[in-house]
């Protein structure tokens, strides 16, 4: 690890990671057509149901958490103990 390091650089994720993950996700949705799935509820049979559910639920949780922070965030020494 000889490359220069930026200690206070904002946290990001490289485009390469994004690309690879997106590719894997695409493959996962494609192979859905070739795998038999035992669906109990009708919506489980919709193509990409779990994929969309995972994405939306995750994003929803994070964005709601962000709103929660506006209400409950306090300074580190709030309780002063």
């Amino acid at each position: 690890m000889n490359k220069p390091e930026k200690h206070d650089a904002p946290t990001t994720i490289s485009a390469a990671v994004f690309g690879w993950l997106a590719a894997v996700c695409t493959v996962l949705v494609v192979i859905e057509w070739f795998v038999h799935r035992h669906a109990t509820y009708p919506w489980e049979g919709w193509p990409g149901f779990y994929a969309i559910f995972g994405f939306v639920a995750f994003a929803g949780i994070v964005l709601l958490g962000k709103q929660l922070r506006r209400v409950i965030r306090r300074d580190d020494d709030y309780y002063n103990d």
């Binding site: 035992h38 994929a51 995750f58």
Partner: protein, 575 residues
Amino acid sequence: MTITTMTSVPPGLILILGGLVLPWLPGAARPVVSLVLPVLGFIQLLLLPEGLYAQIGIAGYELTLVRVDRLSLVFGYIFHIAAFLAALYALHVRDATQQVSALVYVGSAIGAVFAGDLITLFVYWEITALSSVFLIWASGTEQAYRAGMRYLIIQVGSGVLLLSGILLHYQHTGSLAFEQLISASGQLAGAEPGVLLILVAFAIKCAFPLLHNWLQDAYPQATVTGAVFLSAFTTKLAVYALARGFPGTEVLIGIGVVMTLFPIFFAVIENDLRRVLSYSLNNQLGFMVVGIGIGTELALNGAVAHAFVHIIYKALLFMSMGAVLYRTGTIRATDLGGLYRSMPWTAAFCIVGAMSISAFPLFSGFVAKSLTLSAVVEGHYILVWIGLLIASAGVMEHSGIKVPFFAFFGHDSGIRCKEAPTHMLLAMGVAAGLCLGIGFFPQPLYAILPYPVTYQPYGDLGHSLTQVQLLLFAALAFVVLMRTGLYPREQRAINLDVDWVYRRLAPRLVIFAMQWLVAANTVLNRALHHLGRMVIRTVWRHYGPEGTLARTWPTGSMVLWVAILLVASSLLYYA
């Protein structure tokens, strides 16, 4: 040792007695003894046939100190495994207080899951509270002291409620046996008050919503090794107690779902990574509580299996974060990042724990959680199913991604430290091995569950595929939110939770009430003083030296008055 001597010693007692002897052993021997005792205890369990032991009568009460059945055995096994792993992780600790309290704590938790009656349960219940607080206090900071005090008050409070419940229950039924306490209908409405009190005591220790905050308050304040011990026993003892006393209690289903959901929002914005894990622990307990609430054989198996695998991967995650804290001196996400360079093994083990808790196929969480989810589907609890699916994405968020990402990846904090000590790596390695081993070969775990298992976690490839889709698309959402800057930045801050009520609101109310009382007292005093002065002044005016009634009357006026009175009386007499 023969089987008779093995069965005459209640499980857990070996560890408690060993712990009490520990301070008299040479310092170098103590960690080794802490490691050997769980092994001895485990062998004892393997030799114990099912049944009731050590039935004694005290003051007319029939007590059964030991009940060995499939439910108590599963918890007994995993408690010994966790005790061994945590002792291995804590091999460097030379602080006798921590060593003794850890052993007594573990031993009493084991004793509690084998308790055949409620009084024995209560005794062990309180010992777990009293012994474990030293693992928090051993941090030696003012914050740890205060958090430990709050923890102790709440835990002992749970014990007091338990005892009150037991006494009422005994009065009502004449039985002290620790068996199913809820009626077969699973309705709380008709339950006797004693049973309700017992449920509240269990609920506190199981960190039910609104009663949960002692967990996130205390665990992050414990020592590096103390948190590993704490993560395994207290709450899972409560899960055991619920599974024993309240299987099929319908209200637990809803409570469990809420429990899986609310902590994930707190975990998103929490900066202390051990507190993130504490919220995550709370969310995991929710899955178990749902299983207990549904109460079918499949669901109870799911809850117990979840407790089993959860103890291992949660201990593993607390170990990895403990190692980070041990090496870097901080556990704040804002101060960490990029540690995979310095601690590659710790990072790798943490990722195994993260994938297990997220329930990736071939990891231990998957084979346990699938049981509970099938029970949910089987019972047609559609809303519960949706809730648990959202919660699964939440687990991926806080434990699957956030904890490893902000500690080991993300932006480079510039911290360069040594890799975790060998014994810590060993403990994490064994735990990680168990996570993968159970994930690949779930049958040995299924074989020790309370009820027979026919479920095949990998029988339906589609199930594994959809689970991977859910988790990886959740990961994709993380990457998208990060790259668009929508993901909330870590901040040096704390977040309010229910503890605000007793750490801020209640003290403020008391201070306000005191101030109000002082003010009222002043006003009252002033009023009384004023009244007193008025009375004195009136009396003075009439009776004082200058008062009307104290005046010296001239003789003439007296004679005049006598004459008037005489005239008046004669007039009245003759008229």
